[in-house]
Amino acid sequence: MFFMTLNCMFAAASVVDSSTHVLLGLNGGAGVGVYRDEGLSPLLYRGLEIHPSISVEVRQPLWRYEALVSIDGGAYGFTLSPTGFHAFGGQVSVAFNALQQVYSAGCWRLWAGVGIDDLFDIRCNPQFENASVGASNFARLNVLARAEVQMRGWLAWGQLGFTPVALLYRPGFAYMPNYERNISNFVDCFFDQYHLYCAAATGISSQLGVTRQLANGNEFGLSYRWHHITSRSTPDGVTAPYRFDQSSHALMVHFLFNIQ
């Protein structure tokens, strides 16, 4: 579905007008993440994360579209332990955003838009015997706002995102897969204890960056990114899954190649 959408974006860009630019982005970063999954542990885990991603942007004078695939990984220790990594986690997300320029004055531009993304998160604490893995899926609708200042080949920008509603898939009371070592039963019962539910206000993100624009249309830049996601569920594990919260700070490097 991701590549079908990319094809549509390329096709649309090629027939619209000559002011349409398509950029392929290779992005990477590292930073610090903090999370708690109350179904696994009451402790707050903090650790190092890496954030590689690939993106395709279609830019038109008044519209911009973006498809982004990210794979994040991290190693964490819990905050009461002085040393060592006790947990590992990762996220895979696929996002599609569309923004429209809503205001322009001089070198300032403001954009507003929406995005949808699916984020799969998995956490493992190998320190714990058996009950040590929790996976979650967030299918999110996001509201986006972006501000840009264009200054002679440089672009300073900031973007805010908010998730008003999301569809979540979270493990239930027992984190069941961890207990079942018979593979056929594992497959049969993997999702038995999972909850599918809607939640409001499950995430917020912010990003501040500066980009250098080259004469050939390529760009490179730096940005600081912070996001927070939460499952916002009541922590009894039965009527709703145990709560999951994760925040991530990252310093990102962006390389965008003008491919059209």
């Binding site: 542990s41 402790l43 009461l80 027992a174 019962c189 204890q193 912070w226 927070h228 594990g237 709560r243």
Partner: protein
């Protein structure tokens, strides 16, 4: 935006502090909700809380809090329940004392006079032949991950002793390990896909909140079936996966349990952290035999025979192995009673 970038504490709720009262309350509540064996442990968990909680004071020394928490957990008399701190590990006194006071074998006698110096080792099983090659003796000391037994191993062992009329599988003192080795160890036994046991997982906070039964079936036979008599030797040291293996043998007509009641421990252990970083291990599932019973407190043998320690000391003989050999060679195993359902 700068405000938003450093405010995860405003978004991630505080889960509680590491004060002694919070730690004790959290431990009691988590066990109350997640422990799977209240139905067979005959313990009033609320009364345990009411008795011990008044002794908890914020600011008390960590080792004092540890001792109180350990006292609380030890009321469960479960070998799968432990509390770990940076300097100590708690365990159930009754379970471990029972293992040492009711021990069912003498390892020196077993190694010197039964396995011998020329024993073989295959897939974690030490084996040799007894009674002029007519009885295979297999010593399986652990179901642990470093000694995965396979069907290929078992076929090799059987082929090594072509004149054997039966098999002794000695799992006395076997503290358990991987449940996958249970079906591995049964891989050459007669199978028609029969149920060998059911498992249930805690599905909610009430003591009787469990998932539907999750069945485990006998492994399919992929080659020759071993349908000769098999005596599985057990004692109070046969714990966890060894006890689960014992109930799995209920489904096989050619297998009997002999020796003493096992140590139990049929719940799969899981671990959790406490707000102060301690780790608690607890039984998170329950395993039900073919009769629907929970043998958490021990699996009784088909043939009850206590280990004669005096005989072992004086004559360097293991009365249980000797009796098992006699039963196999007499051909009377099929006439001996087996737990029926």
């Amino acid at each position: 935006m700068l405000f938003a970038t450093s405010c995860e504490k405003a978004f991630i709720p505080d889960s509680g502090s590491a004060r002694a009262t919070d730690v004790f309350d959290y431990l009691w509540q988590q066990i109350d909700q997640r422990y799977s064996m209240f139905d067979v442990k005959n313990v009033d968990w609320q009364q345990v809380y009411d008795t011990l909680r008044p002794q908890v004071r914020n600011g008390m020394k960590s080792d004092s809090l540890f001792a109180l928490c350990a006292t609380m957990l030890n009321t469960l008399h479960d070998g799968h329940v432990n509390l770990y701190s940076a300097w100590d590990v708690s365990r159930s006194d009754s379970v471990y004392n029972r293992f040492y006071t009711d021990d069912g074998m003498d390892v020196d006698v077993l190694v010197l006079n039964y396995l011998g110096g020329n024993y073989h080792s295959t897939g974690g099983v030490a084996h040799n032949a007894l009674c002029d090659g007519k009885v295979i003796y297999m010593r399986y000391g652990s179901f642990g991950s470093g000694v995965n037994i396979t069907e290929r191993h078992l076929r090799h062992i059987v082929a090594t002793y072509p004149d054997a009329e039966g098999m002794i599988l000695d799992i006395r003192g076997n503290g358990g390990g991987l449940t996958t080795n249970i079906v591995n160890l049964l891989s050459i036994m007669p199978s028609h896909g029969q149920l060998i046991y059911n498992s249930q997982i805690k599905a909610g906070p009430d003591h009787d909140d469990f998932t539907p039964l999750v069945p485990t079936y006998a492994p399919n036979n992929t080659g020759d079936v071993y349908n000769k008599p098999v005596l599985v030797l057990t004692d109070r040291g046969s714990f966890s996966a060894a006890s689960t293996f014992a109930i799995a043998t209920f489904a096989y007509d050619n297998i009997r349990l002999m020796g003493d009641t096992t140590g139990g421990g049929l719940g799969l252990p899981a671990e959790m952290a406490l707000p102060n970083g301690w780790i608690c291990r607890f039984s998170s599932t329950r395993t039900l035999a073919l009769d629907g019973r929970n043998y958490e407190n021990g699996v009784p043998p088909d043939i009850l025979l206590k280990f004669d320690r005096e005989n072992a000391f004086l004559h360097h003989r293991d009365n249980i192995i000797d009796s098992a050999c006699s039963i196999i060679l007499s051909g009377s195993l099929n006439n001996s009673p087996k737990q029926t359902f």
